[in-house]
């Protein structure tokens, strides 16, 4: 027998009603508790992701709250077979791209690497391995912050949050090839910035 994905309380009285048709505001008690549990479980990573995206603590808090409001509205469509964190980050990334992005202040420096080396690793340009180990979180975060928006988003989603290329593609609504090239280029830019900071800090 196929198992229904609605929670028991919500589906008990109207088992023939499709999940998607459930009334918007009507999360059952269990379902509400489930949502709260999931949100609390992922709040730290959501805030962390929001902070990387917005580069500003107060915008990050706003983004997280807006994301949760949207998620709550859409939660009746969410099934536990989906990865909740990926689903939450998809909402957040879209919200950021569509609304917060417009508020962005600094002009972006998108093109800063020579085309023949696009997306190819080149460790020689970066700090040495032993230097890398000494790199404080502060520098790594600063280097991520320096990345232009479209690169920063994929680096955060992949390297910090660990999502797959396919998951990220769905989040930013771009083909996997685009995710791949942005991510690889983003990493090279990141390495350059780290190199720069390593020199500044006197490690190199």
């Amino acid at each position: 027998m196929p198992r229904k994905k609605t929670d028991k309380v919500a589906s008990a009285g109207r088992s023939s009603v499709p999940v998607a048709a459930a009334p918007k505001a009507g999360l059952g008690v269990d379902r509400k508790a489930e949502f709260e549990r999931l949100i609390l479980e992922h709040l730290d990573s959501a805030y962390n992701g929001a902070l990387r995206l917005t580069r500003n603590p107060s915008d990050a808090e706003d983004l997280v709250q807006d994301t949760i409001v949207r998620a709550m509205r859409g939660f009746h469509r969410f099934t536990l077979e989906t990865n909740f964190k990926a689903w939450l980050f998809k909402i957040m990334t879209n919200l950021y791209i569509n609304e917060y992005h417009r508020r962005a202040r600094a002009p972006e420096r998108a093109q800063e690497i020579e085309p023949e080396n696009l997306g190819m690793p080149a460790g020689q340009e970066g700090p040495e391995k032993h230097v890398l180990k000494k790199m404080e979180a502060e520098y790594i975060n600063k280097a991520i912050e320096d990345l232009p928006d479209e690169f920063r988003a994929v680096v955060m989603l992949s390297d910090v949050q660990g999502f797959s290329y396919a998951e990220i593609g769905k989040m930013i609504k771009r083909p996997i090839g685009t995710v791949r090239s942005r991510l690889h280029r983003g990493r090279r830019m990141l390495l350059r910035r780290l190199n720069h900071y390593a020199k500044e800090a006197g490690y190199l």
Binding site: Y47, L51, G123, L132
Partner: protein, 81 residues
């Protein structure tokens, strides 16, 4: 059966190195990178460097908790809804 000589193209290996590290390289390329790294010390070093870097980014950049005030607001919001 492929020969060793078929796996000596550093450029091809480097092209797929990130995908390989991310577990996203298609089967053929995955095998290519794997074989190449057994043969080419230079690329192996490159691989180890990049692997280290990615690990470091993951460790260092994912730290940090949501501020207590945010958590409080979120909880309040969830319970009022």
């Amino acid at each position: 059966m492929s020969r060793r000589a078929d796996y000596y193209d550093c450029r091809r290996a480097l092209m797929w190195l990130y995908d390989y590290l991310d577990g996203e390289a298609p089967g053929r390329e995955k095998q290519y990178v794997q074989r190449h790294l057994e043969l080419c010390f230079h690329c192996l070093e490159e691989y180890e460097f990049e692997e280290e870097l990615l690990k470091l980014i993951r460790q260092r950049a994912s730290k940090g908790k949501a501020p207590a005030a945010l958590k409080k607001r979120v909880l309040k919001m969830l319970r009022q809804a």
